[in-house]
């Protein structure tokens, strides 16, 4: 168990800078998820913590010690890889025991550690099998077993569930969550799947283009995204982001005027990006938002209505309305959105305006 701290981590490959300075303290026992699209530098960041890559500048601190020059094996970490990376010629037991064997632990101690991990992960009956005789989910459990036996201070997960099918992914996600509440080991988990991120994380780091754009608890990130990127990335269907202009008492979008809860400090007339989530739109004949429907997706529990705001040339937005809504393409509907559900972002910088 240990705290981890990333201090101004930067990384370049040759002339290409991939991480532009990430700072993040991680508390003891915390489950932190690094979320971002592919190529945002999230895996590189994790590999820097593991010691598999060396940062160009900045410090990695584990348990109060700067470990910049410490070998991966001496950082007291364990890592779970996307493709499991099990030793194909070793049995499940040997796979889990290998790290301890290399460290020269006495045999009875190794056996006890393996037995304990196998019990936690329900791998007892599979101990003598080879990885190729296991299903994807079982292999992933063995990979976790290999991490657990070492009893490390930090678990690192690099998209561990990405190779599993959707159903198994949900199940493994639950198991992971339970495992963490049982072991309470500091964990850093990299994924591009926002559902995984939202359900697992105590705290989220949303990365984009090598920057940590938002660090916060999942629901805070959802409720008050720090940038337009975060606003569009978290939540499905994605938040509507449309260009607007600040006017007295609200914001104007292509002729539509919406009320805003927090009167912005920025001057009237400033260009902003207006964001509101599809689920915050409600049917209201007296509402300010007129929608020309272009596509209707009935999901059963909800109806997704895509359309153009204001008129045929207006910005495209999506509304998520509860239940079954009888509406067809080409029809018009009128919606309202509460002022407190409107997010404003500076159009030039993409940063949130409060």
């Amino acid at each position: 168990m240990a705290q981890v701290e990333l201090r101004a981590i930067k990384k370049s490959f040759g002339d290409v800078a991939v991480i532009h300075g990430v700072d993040c303290p991680i508390a003891d026992g915390e489950f932190v998820v690094i979320l971002g699209p592919s190529g945002c530098g999230k895996s590189t960041l994790l590999r820097i913590v593991a010691g598999l890559e060396t940062q160009s500048s900045g410090d990695v601190v584990i348990g109060g010690k700067v470990v910049n020059t410490v070998e991966p094996k001496d950082r007291n970490i364990a890592m779970v890889f996307q493709n499991y990376a099990l030793y194909p010629h070793m049995s499940v037991r040997e796979n889990m025991a290998y790290g301890l064997k290399v460290r020269g632990l006495p045999k009875p101690e190794i056996e006890a550690a393996v037995a304990r991990a196998a019990k936690i992960l329900e791998l007892e009956k599979l101990l003598d099998r080879r990885p190729r005789q296991l299903s994807g989910g079982q292999r992933q459990r063995v990979a976790m077993g290999r991490a657990i036996v070492r009893n490390p201070e930090v678990f690192l997960f690099d998209e561990p569930l990405s190779n599993l099918d959707a159903k198994l992914r949900v199940q493994m996600r639950i198991e992971l969550k339970q495992l963490h509440s049982q072991l309470k080991t500091t964990s850093i988990y990299v994924t591009h799947d926002q559902v995984e991120a939202m359900t697992l994380a105590d705290r989220l780091i949303v990365m984009n283009g090598g920057r940590a754009e938002h660090i916060g608890a999942p629901l805070d990130v959802y409720a008050r995204p720090a940038t337009t990127f975060v606003a569009g990335f978290i939540g499905a269907p994605a938040m509507n982001l449309v260009p607007g202009t600040l006017v007295a008492g609200g914001v104007a979008i292509d002729g539509t005027k919406l009320g805003v809860a927090h009167p912005a400090k920025t001057v009237t007339g400033a260009d902003v990006t207006v964001g509101f989530r599809p689920e915050t739109l409600h049917l209201d004949p007296a509402g300010p938002v007129a929608l020309l429907v272009t596509l209707v997706g009935a999901l059963g529990a909800d109806t997704l209505v895509h359309g153009r705001m204001g008129g045929p040339q207006g910005p495209t937005i999506t509304a998520r309305l509860p239940g079954v809504v009888k509406v067809r393409e080409g029809e018009r509907m009128v919606l309202r959105v509460a002022p407190e559900d409107i997010h404003l972002f500076d159009r030039a910088t993409g940063r949130r305006i409060d």
Partner: protein, 283 residues
């Protein structure tokens, strides 16, 4: 199965059997020849059925190697030399090339690609091109007419290095990283992971390289002089008389049959490993 399919099957088998017969016939003639006396073969009237002298011919070839008219080395000793040479070459080649491939694939050092290409380029030079300089080097090192002079120059192998390199490139990076985190250093990783994963490749290479070593002709001919170092392939050619002298074909046939056995046994024995390797592939 329909009548049509059965007929096609029959034709296929007939072709295969014909092929086997064509390949096997010369070996059968050698086998029969090794059981008659030299005079019968010499007259050109050797029957196609085994003769009465089988045991005598083989005993003679094994113990003295000499017939009535030629003086050869005992086959037993030559087989031993060939076996030793082929084994040292096969294991030496596998050892050297697996280590160099390991270095070229898994380590970052200055000139890595240069060294890889240097190894690769030697593939393009046939043995005959570099045999005179190699000979000079070996003689200067004082290894002429010695076992090490016979084997060591044949050990370097670009082909095997290339083969191992291609295999190592298929090993996922994550496996290397997992081992790093598990605390296995380069040597430990080599013995605990790389070597066991390469088993099938090593078995396949061993068969090829053993036969390569066994069949060496030009190099042993150049570098050895004494009878104690004579290999079986050289021995057979030396048994064939030149000019006026008569040739003891019966002894030669017996020697040939015995010379064929070790490679055949290696193939038969290792084939089971091949199949095993293919059936429960570890990758």
């Amino acid at each position: 199965m329909g009548a049509e399919a059965a007929r096609r099957n029959w034709v296929a088998h007939a072709v295969l059997l014909l092929g086997v017969a064509i390949f096997a016939f010369p070996i059968y003639v050698a086998l029969v020849g090794s059981t008659w006396d030299a005079a019968t073969i010499g007259r050109g009237s050797m029957p196609l059925v085994p003769g009465p002298l089988g045991v005598e011919n083989y005993v003679q070839a094994w113990t003295s190697g000499s017939g009535e008219r030629v003086v050869g080395a005992p086959v037993g000793g030559m087989l031993w030399n060939s076996m030793l040479m082929a084994l040292v070459i096969a294991f030496g080649k596998i050892g050297i090339s697996i280590i160099s491939a390991y270095a070229v694939v898994f380590f970052n050092f200055p000139g890595r690609m240069f060294f890889f290409w240097m190894i690769f380029v030697t593939l393009m030079l046939p043995v005959e091109v570099r045999i005179i300089p190699t000979y000079q080097v070996v003689v200067d090192m004082g290894l002429f007419d010695s076992f090490w002079g016979l084997t060591v120059p044949l050990i370097a192998s670009a082909t095997a290095t290339l083969l191992f390199r291609q295999f190592f490139l298929t090993i996922p990076d994550e496996l290397v990283e997992a081992a790093k985190i598990d605390g296995a250093g380069p040597i430990r990783f080599f013995f605990d992971v790389i070597l066991p994963l390469s088993r099938t490749n090593i078995a396949a290479l061993f068969v090829i390289l053993f036969i390569y070593g066994w069949n060496q002709y030009l190099w042993p001919l150049l570098i050895t002089k004494s009878k104690e170092l004579e290999t079986i392939v050289i021995g057979i050619t030396k048994m064939i008389g030149t000019g006026d002298s008569q040739t003891d074909w019966n002894i030669i046939m017996a020697t040939t049959i015995m010379a064929m056995l070790p490679p055949v046994l290696v193939v038969l024995f290792m084939q089971r490993w091949f199949v095993k390797g293919l059936v429960d592939s570890e990758k």
